[in-house]
Structure formats: C-alpha cells, structure tokens
Symmetry: C4
Subunit: 343 residues, 4 copies
C-alpha cells in the first residue's frame, strides 16, 4: 500500500463531508458542520493552512554530510519525530460510520506508538470514549496523551482517574472547547477556567499537563501560572471560533513569551514535513497533525497511519538536509523567512 492508495481508499468510506483531498486545506469542507469544516464563514482552517505556506525556507547545502537525526524527548520519553497525532472526537458524525471514537483511538494510539510517535486522543459526551482511549494508551505502556474537555471539576476528576490507570505519560485539556454547547449546559457550569481552577486541574493531573488552545501571549502566561508543562498553540482547527488568526501567525510571539519555561506545541494546517520544519524554526518544540490522521485511519487503518508518519518524517528529514540542520537542535530561525507584513 502507498500513501496515495490510502487516500484513494479513504475517499470510498469517509462519509459525505470530508473529501480526503490531496491538499487538506480546509477549502472543500469550508463552513460545513457536521464534517471537518470550520465555524462561521469557515476561513480560519484555510488561513491556518495558507499561513504556513507563506513562510519560506532558506536552502543551504554547504555543510558536513551526516545522518539526519529527528529524535526528540518529551517529558522523559523518546520519540522518533517531533510530531504527534492530534485529538479528534465524534469521528462517526464528522467522517462517517466506519469508525467510532473508540475504534478510531484504538487504531491510532497503537499505530502511532509502534511508529515511534504518540497520539493525543479526544473526548466526548459518552464516557466510554476516554475510558477506551485510556485502555488503548495503557496497552502501549502509556504512550499516548488523553485529552480531557474543560468539564466541571467532578467530571474532570473522574476522567483523570482513567488517565492515571492507563499510565499515560502526559495529559492534555483543550481549553478552547469552552464554547461547545454541551459544556455550556452542564450543571455546575463547565467551560472557561480561571488560572486558579486550571491550577487545581493541573495538580490533579499528576503527569505533565498540556493546555491546548492557546492563541495569545497572555493566554500562555496564564497556562504557565497554572502549572502547565506545555501548551498547544491551537485554534481547534477553526472549529470553535470564526475569524481567528492562524496559529503560524501567533507562534513566534507566544514562543518569545514562554521563553523556554514550558514546551510549546502547535497545530492547525500543518500538512507536510516542511511545515513541521517551519514550526520548529519559529521556536515550537513539536507539532500536532490532526485531520490527515483521520484520512490515514479511514483509508488504511494501522498501515495507513504508519505510511503517513513515514511520509511526514521523510519530508522533515529532506527539509532539514536541504537547509543544513542535521538534528532538531540545529534548526534555527534564520532557516525560514516570514512575510514582512506579519508582526
């Protein structure tokens, strides 16, 4: 099987909304929900994609010829590549009945772990989602990151139990899910969190706690205060708020604010190894890739995931080789150029 075949196969089973496009750029699905589309006018997902393309790489092949090393370490765990599979929820609703969140996460967590990276798993109103995800992560010796929604405290407490049983090496909360209807209607209320509330949650986590959904330097500062070990610069793929800035646009200023005090991850429109390289050159420690993992699972199951990881990994190595970085630490800001009209 080739990655091209994975995509072709995905087209046959991925439901009516996602088109398993060659370039997963938010255009064919634009403002459709359900489906992978973005909220409102739907241009945030497109902007996420396009802003990475506006960043250009600086080729330089005059350096010592060595093997390219893409290994990295997050919270004491070694990975082959500095990218993760992102969390996705309600896959049956948005991508078709071939998978539900339980079966999807099982395939994803296992395939990622075997290929030397880790998957973030999603969360849902059905408690089985996190339970099953935790189980899958447990079977891979904790090599996966459960993502918990910003529920009320009691609910979070329950879900954290599952995380601990699984031995997950880290846990995330997608705080930008605050606006989702099923959270707003909870009693006691769920959704947005103060720094103090987030601190309690971080303590509850015990393992490194990752705050996903930070788009401002101020937000990063608050996550730090709350004791986060990492943040994910993310606008939830454009699905929670219309008219956001692209993640690529705000990455640098957030990296500057964090200044090494936490790990900084980023997602949104990252679609090839060159995009991963660009994120690292702007100061990210790693990235999350989301939707293409869905097409990989739907189109090829565990093999699809493996092929996609190899594709991205190879592209990252290629880009490093062409820019003169032989390991991740050698990727520097001057290897990319952002447009002059970004701030």
């Amino acid at each position: 099987m080739t990655y091209q075949e994975v995509l072709e196969s995905a087209k046959t089973c991925i439901g009516p909304y996602c088109k398993a496009c060659k370039e997963c750029n938010g255009k064919a699905c634009k403002s459709q929900m359900p489906g992978p589309g973005a909220k409102g006018v739907g241009d945030t997902a497109i902007r996420n994609y396009e802003k990475w393309k506006e960043i250009r790489v600086q080729m330089d092949t005059l350096y010592e010829n060595k093997q390219i090393d893409t290994t990295c370490n997050f919270f004491g765990k070694e990975f082959r590549y500095p990218f993760f599979a992102g969390p996705v929820g309600a896959v049956n609703l948005h991508y078709g009945e071939k998978y539900d969140d339980m079966s999807y996460n099982k395939v994803l967590v296992s395939a990622c772990s075997k290929a030397g990276i880790a998957a973030f798993t999603g969360d849902g109103t059905n408690p089985e989602v996190v339970r099953c995800a935790a189980k899958a992560i447990g079977e891979e010796n904790g090599a996966g990151i459960p993502t918990i929604k910003p529920w009320n405290f009691a609910t979070i407490e329950e879900k954290m139990e599952l995380v601990h049983e699984a031995g997950a090496f880290a846990v995330a909360m997608d705080v930008d899910a605050a606006g989702l209807p099923f959270l707003k209607n909870m009693e006691p209320p769920a959704g947005s969190k103060t720094v103090e509330e987030l601190k309690e949650i971080a303590e509850l986590a015990k393992v490194p706690f990752i705050v996903k959904g930070v788009m401002t330097a101020k937000g990063a500062r608050k996550a730090k205060e709350a004791g986060a070990a990492a943040i994910v610069v993310s606008n939830h793929g454009g699905r929670v708020l219309d008219s956001c800035l692209a993640t690529a646009e705000v990455l640098e200023e957030i990296v500057a604010e964090v200044n090494g005090s936490m790990k900084v991850l980023v997602d949104g429109g990252i679609r090839c190894g060159t995009d991963v390289f660009k994120a690292l050159a702007l100061g990210a420690d790693g990235v999350l890739i989301c939707r293409p993992f869905v097409t990989a699972v739907y189109g090829g199951g565990e093999e699809g995931v493996k092929l996609y990881i190899e594709k991205i990994g190879t592209e990252l190595k290629d880009t490093m080789a062409m820019c003169g970085a032989t390991n991740l630490g050698e990727i520097t800001k001057d290897m990319v150029r952002v447009p002059a009209d970004w701030r």
Copy 2:
C-alpha cells in the same frame, strides 16, 4: 422556521436584483442599480464586507466562567444587543413588490422592538414613508430611529414634527445622501450642509441627533461641533460614491478623534456577530446592519427578523465567550488584530 428557511423563502420573493445570498457580500449584486448593488464599479460594498474579515479575533478562554451580558444603553434606553437594524428606502424598487417602505418599516420596527433592539427607518420622496415610520415607532413607545434625508430646512422641519409626535428616542440624518439626484434638484437647494446648518437641524431635533455618513476624522469633528449625540461611520453601503474606503478601515481613527465625546456607530458589511465584536473592539459603541434585515423581512416577516436578531446575538455572545469578554465593556482592542498594512 429556521434562519436558513428564512433565506430560502426570501429567494422566492425578493425581486430580480438581490439573490438573498448565504454570504451577503456585495458580489452577486455588484454594480447593479436598481437593486442592492453599489455605485460605479461597485467595489465599495465588497470592500466593506472584506475588511471586517481581514480583522482577526484573539481567542482566550482562560477566564472566570459567567453568563455573557450583551445589554447596552443608548440615550437612556436599554437594549439587549449593541446592534440596530439600518434604514433602507425604496424597498419595492430595489427588493421587489412584496413590501413597500410603509409595510416594510412597520414589520421591522415592531419586530426589532419586541426582540429588544431598535430599527432605524428610512426616508423617501413620498412623505408617507416617514409618516408611517413615525407611526410604527410611536406604537413601540418610541423605540425606533427615524432617519431624515438632508432636505432643505422647511422639509426637514416638517419631518421633525412627525418624529416628535412619535416620541422617537433619537433621530438620524444620513448626510451622505447629499449626492442623490432628487435632493440636488430641490428648490431651495438641498444636499450638503455646513456645520451651522447642521447645528440648526440638531437643535430642531430635540432628541439625540445622529449624523449618519461620516468617513473621516474631520467629518466627525464637524458633526460634534454641530451638536450631534452620535455619528454612524458609514459610506451608505457603497451606494452614494464609488471607490470609498471600507468603514472598518476608518473606524479606529474616527474613534480616536471622537474620544468619547459622542457615541460612535458603524455600518457597512457587518454580517455576523463576530463582525459586531470586531467593531466594538475597535471602539464603536454599536453597529447597524442593513441588507440582511431586508432578506429577513422578505423571507420571514416579524419571525424572520426575530430569528436573524437571535442569530447575530448568539454569534456575538459566542465570540465574547471565546475571547474572554463577559460584558460589552470588557471587549478591548487587544482582542482583535488588524492587518499591519492598515494605517
């Protein structure tokens, strides 16, 4: 009925020019008049729409979870939302025979008032237009804003009488209508006004006087000198002058000039709650939305208006919740980002 159905229904009765587009962005109607099109090349209406989209919002969900409060006060009157229905004239000519200005304004004023906001009504060569609008406003205890064209003084005087009888809480003049042919041919001449003339009119108004059609800091200063209680930053939806700047582009510098001395409203291409949020973040006190209210009335009558108001109001609340503003006063400039190449 859903808002989607309102739009579908509007398509069946809204005449040949307006297409009741999902995105009301000035493109399908471009340079057509009659119809909702803009003047000349017709790119001002499109620019109005697009410049709001170029402004991006800054998501931040780390704050205390509270009910979102969108209430506001204009000239002593409480409103549920900081947006108004804008004035439209000659609806039968531009949007089809289902309504005339009299029946249109009646539906609009009543539905807006019941939904907790207020409508601006339009003006026309037929004296019945303002008379009927005033009547409709009177029936809603003054909860509507008659808009008077810049006629000659005697005509304005007559119309102001109707405003007073209706007990309207404020009155507006769309001074940018100065170039319309039927004003130019009046005797004595009507159209543009000096500060002195505008001051006389403002005094005649007795209630707070709103100058609509200001696009420069200088124009705002003149409106202030004339005693205006508020201005509307507006280019008349692109219908009175080709090649204008978008209202979004000039809003900030006008807000800076006004510096709190008058209320500042803005219209032109505002099509969703996120656009309302952006206008407020740039310093506007409120906004006017015009054309979508026409499709709402044509497609759903009073119910259509109600649905549209709920749609926009909900989007505004959502945006506030996702940016960390729990009331209108908490919406700040740093919650949006304008492109670097705007001045």
Copy 3:
C-alpha cells in the same frame, strides 16, 4: 442614444481585438497586438487600471452647498473639464476598418472641442495623418493638440510646420515611442532624445510643448530642462514596454519633483470621473483618457464622444460633491488615500 447604446454599437464594428468591454481594464485584450493589448506579458495596462482602483476617496458631505465648478485653464485656454482625449494611431489596424486615423481624428477633435475639452491627435508613418489632424484642429480654432513622434529632426521640422498652420494651442511629443521599429530604422536615426535635442524641438514648437511618456522624477527633470511646458506621466498604455509601474504609482513623486514648474498630466487606465478626481488629488493638473474615446467614436461618432464626455464629467462632479470640493482647486491630497505599501 445612451452611453450604454454607444458601447453596444461599438461591439458590432470595432474589429476582432477590442471587445468594447464595460470595464476597459486591459484584460480581454491583454497581450494581443495588433489590437489594444499591451506589450509582452501584457500586465502593464491592467496594472494601470487597477492601481487607480487601489486609491480610495474620502467622503465628506459637511460643507457649503454650491454648484460644482470643473472648469480649468491650460496655456490660456478655458476648458469645461480637466480631461483630454488621448492620441491614438493606426486605428484601422488596431480597432477595425470603420475608421482610419484621418477620419477618426476629424470626429474626435470636433466633438471634443464642441463639448468643451480638447483632443490630442496621433501620428503615423503616413504623413497624411498629421496633415489631416492639423486641418481638423485648425477648423476648431486650434483647440486640439497634435502629438508628434520622436522622428529625426528634419521630419519633426516638417510636422511642426503643420502644427503652426493649424494654430494648435499646444503640441506634444510622445517620447516613449522611441522604441517603435519604424523609428529605429530611420536614417538619420530617430528615437530617444537628449535634453539638448529635446530643447531644440521645444524651441521649434513655439507653442507650449508637452513631453508625453515620462515615468520617473529624473525624466521629468530632463523635460523641464528642455523647456517643456507640461509633461504627461504615461507608459503609453503599456504598449511600448512590458513590466512598467502603473502611472498612478509614480504620479506623486513626479508631481513633487516638478513642484509647480510645469503642468503635469497623466494617463493610463483612467476610466471614470472618480479616477480623474484621484489623479487631481495626487497633484495632476489634468488627465488624458485614450481607449474609451475609441469605443465612443466607433460606437457613436460625434454623439458618442459627447455622451462619454458628459458621463465622465458628471462622475467627476459627483465625486467632488461627495468629497466636499466645489472647484478643482479645492481637491486636496487628504481627499484620497493610497495604499500603505506604495512608496
């Protein structure tokens, strides 16, 4: 007859290249020659058009209501409007057999003069072209501007004789025609001129001498040194050199260089009265409009020209009225805004 009918009629007789487009923007004819297309890739004509559209006008209707006065004076002669019909050559080749240069210029010169403006006439390899143009100008008491190509001195001398006989109030030379093949092959060589050569020609002219085809401040300085009374900022509609800047882009810096020492005219893509207003706001004393006069003549003869002049004149008046300028002298730089990324 309406101007719309003139355009429709032109479509039936204007040959295969020009499409008599509603928006004459250089796109339908792009890189075609013969025909009105531009040289090379053909994007200079398009850029000329588009850069005017990027300049935006600043509406302000708070001023004293007066008649709008568009009259102006060039070299002692009064005109109704600050625009001229531009010179065109080989009309039969480029626009179809309905006219040749002789019959075209006759219609154009007469109709322009009667409507209160003046036409520039073109030049060609056939000596009859200038002879007939001079005759037409003579019949209008000199109200026309013959344009002479940069031939060798003897040829220029002959043509100047005709200008003097006609009593033309001014004469122009399109120095940017230097690259045309029929000039390069002349003996003695024709084409580019030194300041000294141009000075001799200017002296020969006796009447005010207009240098057409200046695109740089340096070029303007040289024209001034040579004794020119005016320059036309022009890139020959994109027909003599690929990849030029638009005339709108260089106008301001040339106006600054000239600093009132000569009249500054500009052409290239000016298609409506708002464009004329913009050119004047950037410091031009007047403008030339070229291709639309061809469609006006082909589609409506003298009446077509008259209608087109009224159309542009009315649009100019409208724009002035909406920006608060009641005569040409009141049109100021702050009434327009150029994009921030122009220099």
Copy 4:
C-alpha cells in the same frame, strides 16, 4: 520557422508532463514529477516566475540615441548576451523520448555556441551523459559549462578529467542536488559538502568553478571561501525543496554580500528579456534560463534554440533602450523597483 511555430511543434512531441505553455510559469506542471513540476506543493517554481513580474522597470527614453550593446565577458570569454542555457538532466524521462541527455546536450551546446552564448550541460547517473556533454563542448572549443553533481570525491575526480579534456572554459557544481536519492545512497556518501571539501573540488576544477544552488548570503560566503569564481543563485527551479523563497527575492542581499568578489548568476523563472534586465539591475552579472531551452530544442532543434536566443536578446535590447541603458554596465538599480514588502 518562428518561435511561435517552435512552441507549437514542441507541443506535439514533448511528452505528457510539459505543456509547452506560452507562459512557462510552473502552473500547468505544478507538483508533477516526473515532468518539469516542482517538489511538494509545487509553488516554488510558480513563485520564481511571479516574483520577477512583481519587479517593475522604470522607463526613460530621454538619452543619447545609440546602438544597444549587450556583449559581456565571463572568465575571459566574450558573449553576445548575458544569459546562458541552464543544465537539464533526464530529459527523456521528464520531457519525452524524442531526446536523451546525450542528444539534447549536443544540440544545445552547439546551437548556443553558434548564437554567441554558452550552455550549461547537466549530469546523470549514466556516466555517458557528462562524457558526451564534454565531447560536444570540446567541439565548440570549450564554449560550454559542464555541471557536475555533488558526488563523492572519486566520482567527481573522474568527471573533472572529462571537463579538462573538453577544454571547457568553466565548470559548475549544482550543490543543491545534495538531497537527490541517488546521491544519498552512494558509498562513500555523497551530497552536501563542507567548505573544505568544496575547496578541494574547486582546486580540482582548474578552470573557474561555479557553485550553483546558493540561496542565502551565508551560502555565498561559504562558496567564496571555497574558492568559487561564481555562484548561481538558484533553487533548482523548485525541484529539490518545497516552499523556497524565489531567487528574485534573495538576489539583492546575496549580491550585497558578494560585493564584487565573485560573479553572481541567477536562474529560476526568468522567461523574457525584461526579466534578464531586472536581474542585471539587481546586481546579477548574468542569468541562466532552463526550461524554455528544452521546449526550444524539442520544438525546433538548433534552429529553435537560435530563435529563442534572438527572442530573449531582442527583448533585452528593447528594455535597455526604453530604460536608457545602452550597454550592460549602464543598467542600474534605479531602473527597477521592487515591491515595498520585500526586505
């Protein structure tokens, strides 16, 4: 035969990937490989083309009328024009079976030499490619530039022998080929080179050594240290790395860094004489044009090459004449304008 006929003829035989487009701009072939397409998303070839178009020329025809002289000297050899045919490899694979590298280079080297310019020849895994290219160059008395890939030292040594036998006046290495799969798998490893390694190679070259594939000031400095006589600013037409900057964008800063210490050539999207002029105005000493020479050879053989050279040469002369440069030394920076948002 006309150049138009050459293109038409090429369409009939140039294989399925290249479309022999009128504008060779990287769009029709975008991300296809094999074929002339670029790597990854494929936008680098398009960007190369478009960035030249964003640079605009400054017309000025007020100067002394003289013959335009385009001759130049590289490493003691006189050429008619400051452009070279670029190296291409695996033409049968990418452009169709009508030619292989051996027959292609033979036609190209001979036709270029006869027309007064020189061709770069390509390299391949088949040792016959360089052997035949060297033979063709030898037959033209050394008027051609063999391009050697960055193999391991032993392989380079062998190929240099052939260069010396041919008496080539210069030799190039496309160091940006470092990432190609067949180099990565060599034993001992080939690909990227340190300055020290490159210095050894430059010494081996004996004739002036040209480093092709430099995109940064730092890379230029390293080439200089290694003893290069010239560099080619090139991203290999977008074929070795996705998301590169365009060569036009980095040319000026590299010219500034080199500061006359080496010759600077540039390629990538240069498609007309005006583009050549722009490159020279930004400080390049000469340019390479690649793909259009392939269509010229496929469509017209030696005559096709001759016609293409005349076309480009004539366009260059035209541009010089219209900007007031009568020889290459008179082409200055102020004759072009780059967009304000380039750095």
